[in-house]
Amino acid sequence: MEGRASSPVQPGGTPGAPLANWGNMHEMAIATSVLEAVKTEMDLHPGTYPCKVGLRIGEMAAIDQDALRFCFEAIVHETDLESLALGIEVCPRRHRCQGCGREFVVRDYDSRCPQCASLETTCISGDELELAYLEVEEYGPSTVGAKSTQ
């Protein structure tokens, strides 16, 4: 994020164009990375436009969902990705018991195995910050006209 041009995102910015230096805020840096990944992926799907990008965020990932949505909306505003929706799946913290192998969701920081009460459990998920999917739609005759005016 650092060291990029600090000009605002150009309306109708093309895929691959540099995004603004809005990486100062943590969630803004994340939103910018998500949008860059979408633009890169779109190069592989000519004749389509992106409708929704899905993220998986672990509850231990230190990401504020509302702040992320706010930042995401701010950087797609008045670009050709303005209609791109953001889907967020929150992943709970899961542990596996080293004794009995049971996998379970940790609630209220209680990482004791619910089956055998062992404290020897290891974290297997919960700090995700991942791009899960992208939904794309083919341009129809009406959408082509609509896009070209932007």
Binding site: G23, M25, I30, Y109, D127, E130, E135, V136
Partner: protein, 230 residues
């Protein structure tokens, strides 16, 4: 409508650069630590006392991050080890590229230990891998003992908790045992040392932890060299 699986990390570019750094550190047998805390918890003081305790010829360097000013680097340069300030100009965390850039004119073969002081912030730095062998979180007794529960991510991801400013314990309502219990709720088995940079209390424990980590790193590099030679 088509759904295309992406299956990649959001910060994959930072992770890629961090993995390259980690490989370089490993190749040169360097222990790299990433120190994280709220502003004012005592990261720089801990580094001052650490550098003061190390022998003059030791192969140690420090990168210290802040949003503005060279103040921390100036404080740490007194100890005659290589020190560089990273001023982020507003960014609330260090990222792997900043580390690469600031290491550019240091010879890694001259180093055994690289201490990175992150920007004072308990949230954002936890998402950015800097190629470190371990994160160390510093929590001072003038903060709340429930900090590990309020900011679990960084306590979860750090190998060591340094409870700092313990000389102030008689004057502040801080339950040090509760702090340890909370940290271990978030991170079962977390290692904890309690220090005062003012009185020197507990610093030996921190230095022992540091030296043990350095020793654990060394044979790895030697083994690699032997394998290459044989």
């Amino acid at each position: 409508m088509d759904r295309v699986p992406l299956e990649q990390k959001v910060l994959s570019e930072n992770d890629r650069v961090a993995a390259e750094l980690r490989a370089r550190f490993q190749e040169h047998g360097i222990l790299c630590l990433n120190l994280i805390s709220s502003p004012g918890s005592g990261k720089t003081s801990l580094l001052e006392r650490t550098l003061e305790a190390l022998p003059r010829h030791d192969r140690v360097a420090v990168l210290t991050g802040d949003i503005q000013t060279e103040n921390d680097a100036n404080r740490l340069k007194r100890f005659h080890f290589p020190v560089k300030q990273i001023t982020t100009g507003g960014t609330c965390h260090l990222d792997a590229r900043m580390i690469v850039r600031h290491l550019a004119d240091w010879k890694l073969e001259d180093l055994d230990l690289l201490l990175i002081e992150n920007v004072g912030n308990l949230v954002c730095p936890s998402s950015y891998d800097l190629g470190e062998a371990a994160k160390v979180v510093v929590l001072s007794v003038t903060e709340g003992e429930d900090k590990p529960l309020k900011y679990p991510s960084i306590f979860f991801k750090s190998d060591l908790l340094v409870l700092s400013k313990i000389d102030l314990l008689p004057y502040v309502p801080f339950d040090i045992e509760a702090a340890a219990v909370n940290a271990r709720k978030v991170h079962p088995g977390m290692e904890i040392v309690k220090v005062s940079c003012l009185t020197g209390n507990g610093l030996q424990e921190w230095m022992t932890w540091l030296e043990e980590r350095r020793k654990a790193r060394k044979p790895l590099a030697q083994e690699t060299t032997q394998e290459t030679m044989s």
